[in-house]
């Protein structure tokens, strides 16, 4: 605990509560913020992430929308262009694809196409990730689709603390931002300060310092990497874990610095390995730290198939502490 922290920093709440509380506080401080999405109003969201907002702020500011992902994002774009600060929800990250035109062709490009005039303080919230037996169309991690689009910003918080700070920064940012929650993390808990705070977009965090290998882990994979690091520590392997937190813009410096220190890197994400963000990160590391590398950068991700339903397949599909530890031993030639 640092000197600037207070007793409230020790308060423990869940990832889902952090999301909910942050929206309450942001809406209280800024009358231009409204929330819209399927089931977010009266019911409080399918995961209860929006619970209580409609009762507090009413139908005008917490809008139940039809099932209409394109129109939900479009609503946000148009309202943002008129100066409001919309938070629109896409429930499951898989539905991002349904709204992809509005996100990638419209929201992301409007400012550029208009010669800089448009300002879109729009935030899209959604839940990604596998592990709940939700099968191929409700389990995907699609960050690689989104980081390919200039004009967007994308965060994938790995703890309740980061969720609050990143969500706050995204909502206050004057660009289209996407906040991806991991649906298997909603019930996980951690220390979260009560008052609002920002985590700068594009600033990674070193979750754990170490000497032998750097693991760059995204979203829920941060905690899985921590579990792997524990096992590896028992074998005498010291692991450093870097959580980019924000995938676009990406904090290349922190990752490269860590690579220069440990000389070995394993990148872990839940998305399909092929064409995943791991490839982009590996490319940046070799561009800026090639001479420091003692082994090729390794990537751990999902196999090249849709997310399978059967728990027998899904449990092997998602990277686990074992597969991450194996990759770390691999870059150490052990």
């Amino acid at each position: 605990m640092t000197a600037t922290e207070t007793a409230t920093d020790q308060r423990i709440i869940t990832y889902n509560q952090a999301f909910n509380e942050t929206l309450f506080q942001l809406m209280a401080e800024d009358e231009d913020i409204f929330v819209a999405g399927e089931d977010v109003g009266r019911y409080g969201g399918v995961f209860q992430s929006f619970a209580g907002l409609n009762a507090e702020y009413g139908d005008r500011r917490v809008v139940d929308t039809p099932i209409a992902e394109q129109a939900i994002v479009g609503l946000g774009i148009g309202a943002a262009a008129m100066g409001l600060r919309p938070v629109v929800d896409l429930m499951f990250m898989d539905f991002v694809m349904v709204a992809m035109d509005q996100i990638a062709n419209q929201a992301a490009k409007m400012k550029y196409m208009f010669g800089g005039k448009a300002e879109l303080p729009l935030t899209i919230t959604t839940t990604g990730g596998a592990g709940l037996g939700a099968a191929a169309q409700h389990s995907q991690s699609l960050e690689a689709w989104l980081i390919h689009v200039p004009g967007l910003k994308l965060v994938f918080p790995s703890s309740p603390h980061d969720l609050k700070g990143l969500l706050t920064s995204c909502v206050r940012d004057n660009n289209p931002t996407i906040v991806t929650l991991h649906k298997a993390m909603l019930g996980t808990s951690g220390h979260v300060p009560e008052e609002l705070y920002e985590i700068p977009l594009g600033k990674a965090s070193v979750v754990q310092e170490g000497d032998d290998v750097t693991i760059v882990a995204i979203g829920r994979m941060v905690s899985v990497a921590q579990a792997a690091a524990k096992t590896l520590a028992e074998e005498g392997i010291s692991v450093e874990i870097v959580d980019p937190r924000c995938l676009l813009p990406f904090d290349t410096d922190t990752v490269v610095e860590s690579a220069k220190k440990t000389n070995r890197v394993v990148i872990v994400h839940e998305a399909v390995r092929n064409g995943g963000i791991g490839g982009e990160i590996a490319a940046q590391i070799q561009e800026f730290a090639f001479d420091y590398l003692d082994a090729p950068v390794a990537r751990v991700g999902a196999p090249f198939s849709p997310v399978p339903f059967s728990p027998a397949l899904e449990s092997e599909y998602v990277p686990n502490p074992g597969s991450i530890a194996d990759a770390v031993r691999g870059v150490l030639n052990r």
Binding site: D39, R42, Q48, P66, V98, A135, P306, P308, F309
Partner: protein
Amino acid sequence: MATKKQPAKAAKQTKSASSSKIPKEVLLDLHRRMVRIRLLEEAAGRLATEARIPGFIHLYVGEEAVAAGGCAALTNEDQISSTHRGHGHLVAKGGQFKPMMAEFMGRATGYCKGKGGSMHISDLDLNMLGANGIVGAGVPIGVGAAFSNFYRDNGLVTMAFFGDGSTNIGAFHEGTNMACALGLPMVFMCENNEYAEYTARDRVMNITDVADRAVAYGMPGVVVDGMDVIAVYEAAQAAVARARAGEGPSMIECKTYRYYDHAGVSGIGKNYRSDEEVAAWKARDPIEMFEAQLSKARVLSKAAAKKIHDEINAELDEAIEWAEASPFPDPATDMLTDVYTEAS
């Protein structure tokens, strides 16, 4: 033949089994399809509660008359497209309990080898184009199947099942318009259960009857009592006949209700529907009402109906036992198969 949208109130009168000219075999077939769906779903709900079925399941209990009445108007070769709430559609199209239960449980012996689960359950051999995790996505896929019928001039018809909520998404409008513009042999079968997940229809639609939307695309739209299997069947027969005759698509809106939660048996919050509302719909249970009619018409006695339930339950018990004894898929060999069709 119903070719005009009827006011919703007209649907409240239940068609009588005795007065209709429907042959006895068809009446018994409609009954059996409904009971098969009901009992499968009750069992699936139980198994999910006991964590013997993983993931999300969307139960069809309460809506049986729609799938049964719709599919009974089709031949085996006709196609259907479906939704996330797809178990009933598959059963009504001839789906077997063993591979269904095995699929729900993620076993290698399931209809989809455990890869799809409840939300993607399908059997193309039965011309069922799959349950679907994306709301509205089944509608355009159904349009494609109907186009193949038109293209081959094979006389087959496609029936797309969809919920009230799905009619708010672009895919629905694109699909229905295209089918009407191309004059495809198609029936759009709406299950209006008044809710999309936990949100009431009137919060997200400014119309009461989904069938009103048919007018916008130039097809007839009718409203029927979706708790009355005869009403659904007769409307479906008329629409299927029209499609088969090359006269284009029709829409049927079935007013119905799901008894359980959106997903699973009971969800996180119950505040979105009143107990009175649920009870009022259950008082018009499609199976109980039909059995009362069949008994009165001396088509099926109460004792004979019970025997059918018992037989189906025995078949289910056997299917559950078989499914639970079935192997899981093997990650080492099954993870990467079925992504592509191998060159032959």
